[in-house]
């Protein structure tokens, strides 16, 4: 019985230690953010890696999600003779929820895991210690540019996701199922609010961007410098990011839309 409590205590202590390390790590990253923004060349490199290279998976996924939303939405709405509301239904689903959440999950899987593996391997191959020995702070040169790129990319990718998703819904609803084009767009324009829906969606994706990129760069930096350590860290990035995004989404949704 004591053994169980001992293990539980060890697990809890380890978790709180990691949590503490993670927050100290974030403070160090934030202190280097201004320098990372000023080093434009490095930032553009990372924006390309995190943002541009994620575009394909974001666009393809968004198209599929939008088409499914169009199909399912039409099947439900047509029973009530409300198929003209397909436009706002697809748009609100994407802008408020699916755009930010699915983009964050996809970015965690593609770019987040790659960031963790890259930084972890830089530790394994002694690139980070050698940088330190050359009096160059890895937080300024390696970590902060990746963090800023992740945070900046997320809302942009979420916007692309929502836009392409709406086009997918339009293609199925209007193109295949015969919903009126004018009704689709005009209802969407009337029902989707800029501040309430668009801005809240952007705020969500920025929060997800911070969470996912923080987890990714921290896991890479904190990984045990072995092959197994990097492998475990990469897995943790995807799993922890997914939990963080879904948990934060509930909290943010409750705060933004809970009273309505």
């Amino acid at each position: 019985m004591m053994g169980v409590f001992q293990r539980l205590g060890q697990w809890a202590l380890g978790m709180f230690q990691r949590l503490g390390r993670g927050h100290l790590f974030l403070l160090r990253v934030l202190s280097q953010v201004p320098m990372a923004v000023l080093d434009f060349r490095l930032l553009v490199q990372q924006l390309y890696f995190v943002g541009v290279l994620s575009l394909m998976i974001i666009a393809v996924s968004a198209l599929a999600v939008g088409m499914v939303l169009g199909l399912q939405g039409y099947n439900t709405l047509v029973d009530f003779g409300a198929e003209a509301s397909l436009g706002p239904m697809v748009a609100l689903s994407l802008v408020r929820e699916l755009g930010p959440v699915l983009t964050a999950l996809l970015v965690a899987g593609r770019a987040g895991s790659a960031l963790t593996a890259e930084i972890g391997l830089m530790r394994v191959t002694e690139q980070l210690p050698s940088m330190e020995m050359m009096a160059v702070d890895p937080f300024r040169r390696v970590i902060a540019p990746r963090f800023v790129a992740g945070v900046l990319s997320m809302p942009l990718l979420a916007a692309v996701f929502s836009a392409v998703g709406i086009l997918g819904g339009y293609f199925v609803g209007v193109g295949l199922l015969g919903v009126d084009t004018g009704a689709f767009w005009s209802q969407m324009q009337a029902k989707v609010g800029f501040e309430e829906d668009i801005i809240n969606g952007v705020v969500k994706s920025i929060v997800f961007g911070v969470a996912v990129t923080w987890i990714a760069v921290f896991e890479g930096y904190d990984a045990a410098p072995t092959t197994e350590g990097v492998s475990r860290a990469t897995t943790r990035t995807v799993v922890h990011s997914a939990f963080a995004v879904l948990g934060l989404d509930f909290i943010l949704t409750a705060l933004m839309f809970g009273g309505n």
């Binding site: 210690p129 050698s130 330190e132 020995m133 009096a135 160059v136």
Partner: protein, 244 residues
């Protein structure tokens, strides 16, 4: 453990694997902190330095890592140019001249366009050496520079370490367990084991040392005071353990 590294000389720290040779280098470079004691470099106490002061000191130190530790996203030229671009405001044409001179010193001027994954192990270490001396440091630390290298590369590295030390007036510290190579280029050697200095002296002095342990290490004898076996219970008891 008390080590004194003389200026302008090549000092080697040798000992069996796992005795803390690389840890000693990490302590000197301020990558880890001692739980007790002090590390003085050029009169400065490394553990007591603030981060900014430590980085200022590190600009005057170079370290050759065991793996080379070249940046995999940069080619040979940019790897060597990295410390110059980070720490100086030199114009790019001057950086180019300096990089080519450093690469010429290690015989790899012609390989400047290659990526780290196109280099052999020996070439990687030579590029890393060129990068480490880019800022003309007062002190160079070499972590196992000869491990896993073919005889020709070992010869090239030995010649380079000696030449660089003498021509640039550096202080060099080599951590290694390659006895012959280290004896050939070192001015002074510390033999460490179990957290203490077992012997020290010039290569010739250590060759004549009366200690059985020193002779076992210097001549690579399997039998002697340094046990081959990791501590364990009697083999008969271990093998019969399940039968009992």
């Amino acid at each position: 453990m008390d080590l004194d590294i003389p200026r302008g000389k090549i000092t080697a720290i040798m000992g069996p694997s796992g005795t803390g040779k690389t840890t000693a280098l990490n302590l000197i470079g301020g990558q880890i902190y001692p739980s007790a004691g002090d590390v003085l470099v050029d009169g400065l106490s490394v553990p007591r330095l603030r981060r900014r002061e430590l980085f200022a000191l590190r600009k005057r130190m170079g370290m050759l890592f065991q793996s080379g530790a070249l940046f995999s996203d940069l080619n040979v030229y940019d790897n060597v140019a990295f410390p110059l671009r980070e720490h100086t405001d030199l114009p790019e044409p001057m950086i180019r001249d300096l990089v080519l001179m450093k690469l010429e010193a290690v015989g790899l001027r012609g390989a400047r366009e290659l990526r780290p994954n196109q280099l052999s192990g020996g070439m990687s270490r030579r590029v890393a050496l060129a990068r480490a001396i880019a800022l003309d440091p007062m002190m160079m630390m070499y972590d196992e520079p000869f491990t896993g290298q073919d005889p020709i590369t070992v010869g090239v590295l030995m010649k380079l370490i000696r030449q660089l030390n003498d021509s640039l007036g550096m202080t060099s510290i080599i951590v290694s367990h390659d006895v012959q190579e280290v004896c050939a280029i070192s001015d002074y050697i510390y033999l460490i084991a179990d957290g203490q200095v077992m012997a020290s002296g010039t290569p010739d002095e250590l060759g004549r040392d009366a200690s059985e342990w020193v002779q076992q290490f210097m001549q690579g004898k399997p039998d002697g005071p340094a046990a081959f076996h990791f501590p364990a219970e009697d083999i008969a008891l271990d093998l019969l353990g399940e039968a009992r």
